[in-house]
Structure formats: structure tokens, C-alpha cells
Amino acid sequence: MQSSAQTAADPGLDRVLHAALTDESLELPPPPAVAVEVTRLTRADVSDGGNVDTNAAELARLIQRDVALASQVMRVANSALYARRSPVVTLPQAIAWLGMREIRTIAYAVAVQGQVFASTYFRREMTELWRESVITALFAQEIARLKRRNVESAYLCGLLHRVGFAIVLARVGSAALTHRLTPDPGLVLQFAAEHEAHVGAQLAASWRLPPAVVAAIANWRSPAMATESRFEVMEVALARQISDELRTPGAGGELPDSMLGPVSKWMDELSIYPDELFSIMAQRAAIYATAESFI
């Protein structure tokens, strides 16, 4: 594992970063509150006489809001224990396949992990990463809806496209605590960005994530490099550009120069005209409100 030139100057930090990526048990840091909520919902289903339909619907919404739990659900649904002849590719399919009882088991596991990562070093950065992923997922699904592509797959690609970054960040935070070091957040973010693609790819392979998610993780920064699931990768890339653009106050009135160049190429490939892009951007308020409710 090669760390960047900047980090190599600090042997202590280099050791931490190295340690962060040599531990093979890579797990995502889940927000414990969500896992607890999942547990409550699934328990009510079987023991408290809860309304099964209501709880199931609420459970689906809850899982879709959480990158860690969603990833876990997908991983378990595709694990050797449950594997079908073909991978499970969407969350509703995974939930239906696993059933409430198994979802509860996963929730317990995630809750334990949540406790492990509760004092994680990069809570603020992780929250921002989560927000960014959710917003990307929500915009990606609107792009998919417009182009009559699979909405669930677009959402999952958006939600998990930076899963590698989350893992690296969490592991560095954990290692920093273990080794009692205080890494420079800027350097760590740079380190995470450098390694997120291959760490994400590792995770995608071991979790048997769907090919479109694998492609999004590997190529969202440069969709032209995608040899498979190119459409889904471009959906994610464009969704991120929309998200980034809308951070600018007053944005959304007209096609900004920043969205020409490479983005216009994606719009071209996706056959999305400016007015269609604006119709997606016009959903900003609803999407941001939804994203905030996820956090």
C-alpha cells in the first residue's frame, strides 16, 4: 500500500494510514440510531403486535436512508448463506428476499458496529459524506426516472458510489485512536480520495455488489472510462455535478458555465436537454429536505 508523498513525510501518520488499509475486515460505520430504529420496527412486527405492513414500509424507507445498513443488507442478501443463482440488485428485492427476521439480525450486527464506530474520529466528515451520497442518490434516481432507466439501481449507485471513501475514513479514524495519533484531516481526506476507488472495488467484490454499483464506484470521477454500466455511471456523475452546482447560492436559474464542458458531454450522452436538467434541478428543495431527514 502506497501512501501519498505528503503523508510519507510523517512516519506516524503513514503508519496509521497503512494500518487503516491492511486490516481486511473493512466495514462501514453505520449511524447507530438507525440500527436501533430498525430493531424497534422489526421487533414490533413479531412480538408487540405491530402493524406488519406499516412497519415493513417504514423499514424499507429506513434502510434506504442509510448507506451502512443498505450496504449490509445487500451484502447479506448476496452472501453465500443466502445467495441465489443471480445477485440481488435492489434494496426492496433484498428486503423481500431476506424477510423481516433476517433484517433484524442484520440490524443487530450493524448496531454493534455502530457502537464500535460511535467515537469515530471523522464524524463531521462522515456526515458530510453521507449527505453528499444521499443527495447524489436522489438526483441520480430522478435522472433515471426521466430517462426511463432503473430508478432503484440509480439510487443504489448514488448511495454507494463513495463507499470506499467512507471505509478508508472510518478505518483511519479508528487506527488514529488506536495509535493515539492526530492526523491532519486534510491529508486524510486526500489519502481517502486517492484510495477510495480500489478500496471500494475490494469491498464491491467481496460484497458482490451489482455491476452498476461497482462501475459507479470505480468510474464516477471519469465516466468516459467506464466500459460497463456506462449509463449508470454517467447518471451518478451528472447527479454529483448537479449537487455540487446547487451548493452555489442562486444557482439553478440558467445553465452555468461550470456545467458545460465535461458535463455537457454527459448530458449529450444521456440525451438530457437543458430544460430537462432544470426540471431535475428544480426538485432541489424537496431533495435537500429529504436528505436532511436522512441525517
Binding site: 417504514e58 443463482r85 433515471a144 432503473n150 438530457i272 436537454y273
Partner: protein
Amino acid sequence: MNAAAPARHFDVVVIGSGPAGQKAAIQSAKAGKRVAVIERDRQVGGSCVHTGTIPSKSLREHALRQRVRQVNLMDEPIQSLLDGVGETVAAHDAYMAAQLERNGIELLRGRASFISPHELALKRIDGSKGSVRGEIIIIATGSRPRAPVQLSVDHEHVLDSDSILSLAYLPRSLLVLGGGIIASEYAAMFAALGCKITQADQLDRPLAFLDPELTTFYVEELRRNGGEYIPCAEAVATRWDGISQVRTDFKDGRAIFADKVLVALGRLANVDGLNLEAAGVALTSRGHVQVDDQLRTTTAGIYAAGDVIGPPALASVSMEQGRRAACHALGLLVPSDPVSRLPSGVYTIPEIATVGLDEHGARRHFGGAVVGRARFEEIARGQINGCQRGLLKLVADPGGRRVVGVQIAGDSATELVHIGQLGLAAELDVDAYVDNVFNFPTMAEAYRIAAFDIVKQRGRSTTSDIVADAVSAVL
């Protein structure tokens, strides 16, 4: 970047590159005209290539194989059932683009809207603008699925015929709303793939424009695959339950639950944004571009073809309409056959195909008809192939001499119908199907069997000159 260039001039400008637009453009180019095609999407070919005919028929092939193999495909991602379709579409796309180029046709990317009867504004995807002038303009913008607001099509749980193939996996149950060709084709296809199908429509039978014997056959086959058709059922609302089921409420108070819902309740002409008012082009009461029998719109020099002018919205018919629109516009010789003589193919499982008049139509026109039937169970090839369920109806004039139509339901129907089509074009009489020897064993034997059936019935009918004249007038 928004500086508009001067208008470019062409003899013929075709809006849309689907089956109608493509054939109109090529016909015009072959006549030596300078032609441009305006296409809003990156790929040429229209919905036929990208969301309709080609992808759906690829899935259908899997359904047919599934019928033979009896393999459970419910775990199979739909994209794997569409294997090769990406390559097929790309190859078709490349072929069509090359065909346009080879014929010297200029492909302009963007959205067109009329400025005047002979001038179109062109808005490109990067926001830049241009304009194009054409002595003749042919509108071939196709159609899109109609999505009644109350049915909340979200392309995720409640889908239309454009988004149905974006499904990640086969639903365990699918409610198909509609009784037309698209609804019936998807109902048959997903039923054959192993989904629990419920098809519901306001009409008392699906494919109501067809001979009732054929639709009865379709419903029976759907039932054999575990599906059902619910007649006289008008859906008024759909609601996803948040996890796995969509509830659909009907006007009569019933509710049906299914994993997914396909709304296939007709199609709307793609005329939005064309600014037809600026050209004086009128629409019909159903929102299609109004044309006469020469495919002329209400404005001189502007023609329309394909789905944008309304049913039957079949690729084969659209192609021919496109070709004929160009021929009419350029004063070229136009085939004398009426477009109604073109065959119709419905890719249900099994297939249904028809050409000419059906029994009801013949009785209406001639005051009677003699109908010969051949059931596939009587045909040796059907026995060999396992295609024992099927029916061919040969419809003749009241004297039992002149063939006026053919209707077929069963495997290979869309191929078999072409024998009847050529027979109609050649004005063959019933005896020609008896006297000519077909290969044995073939499904074409059905024609002979049906013809013999007519010959047997002739004794009960008489031919008169009046009837013969009436037949000639209609055909």
C-alpha cells in the same frame, strides 16, 4: 454560444429518425433530393429501437425459450434476459446511421419547432440554436406512452411501456392495465416468463380490433400461462405500499395487489414543442397530426407519418407510411395497395397476425362471407413442432371464390401471414391455395386445409357478378 447561424436549406426535412422518418428520408434521398433528418436523441431509430420493438422482442425470445426449457427465471435479472440487446441496438443504430450517411442524408441533432410552414428552429443539447428550411417537411416524431395522472406512473413501481424493461428483476406478479397490442404483448411475455399476470381493461375483451376468435385464443393462452384477463375494469388509482406491493383500485370497487403495475393505456403523439400552430398543422380530436389518405397535413408541403398520425402504430406500417409520404410529396409513383392491405403482427405468445378483411369486415362489406378454418393440431408440422394450438382463418367473398383476408393465431403467425398477403396482392382465388403444392411438412399447409374448408362450403353459397364487382371495388 447562443449565436444563431443562418438557416440551412434542404429539399426535404424529416423530423424524427424512427421507422417512418428513416424510410421517408431514404426514399427522398433516393429521389435525388437534399435531405436532413432532425433527431433529438443521441441515437437514431426512435423508440422502436431503444425502448420498443427491438428490446421487447429480445425479451420475448427468452420467454419463448423459457416455454420450452421450463426453467425458473424469477431469480434472473432482466438485464441478463436482455443479453445481447445492447449490441443489437448498437448494431442497428450504427447500421441506420451508416445508411443515412450512405444516402447523403444529413443528421442534425436537436429539437425542432416550426417557425413557419417551411422553417424550423433547432435547439441543440448544449443550448445553442440554429434553423433549417425545407421545401417539404415530414413530421415523424412518433409517440410516447399515455400516463393518466390518477395512475401515478413513477417508472419505479408503476411503469409504462418505456420503463418496463428497466426493471432490475422479474416481478412475481404484474398487473397490466390496458387491452391493446402493447399491453397484450407484455402480458403474454411476462406470463410466459413465469410472472403471475393480471390484465385488466375497460373493454370486454383484449385486442378488441381483432376477430373475436383470435382474441378468445389469446385469452385462453394467457390463462394457460397462469394469467387472467379482467374485462370491463377501469383503474382509478394506484398506490405503492412502501415495500413490495402496488395496490390498484378500480371503479367497480375492487382492488388488485401486484409487485409492479404496467400502464399501457394507449400512446400520445409527440407533438409537444413542435409549435405546429406556426405552421398551421391541425391535430385530430385525439391529438394526432391530421392527415389525408396521401399523408398530407392541413398545410401544403407538410406531411406526417408513423405513430404521430395515430394507430395502428406498428413499425412495419410506419415504415411504409414514411416511404409513401415521401413519394406523395415528391410526386413519385405510389403503390396502389391501400395501407390497410399491410399485415398486422401482434407479438403475443403465441403470435397473432392478420391481413385484409376479417370475417366481420367481409360480412359488412359484401353482405356475407365464407370462412375456411385450419387448426394447427391438424397440421403435421404443428404436431412435430409442438405447435398444436393455433388457428388460421381464410376469409373469402360470399361466393367462396376470392380470398379477402387472412387471420392467424399461433406460432409463426407473423411469418405465415405473408403468404396470404401476397395472395391478396396477386388477387388469388381460393382454388390457388388448393392447386398449389406447398412443402410438406410445413405450417403453410394450414392455407390448403382452410382453402379446402371453403371449397367444401361452396355448395351452400353462390357467386354472383354483383358480389364479384363489390369485392373488386373494396379490394
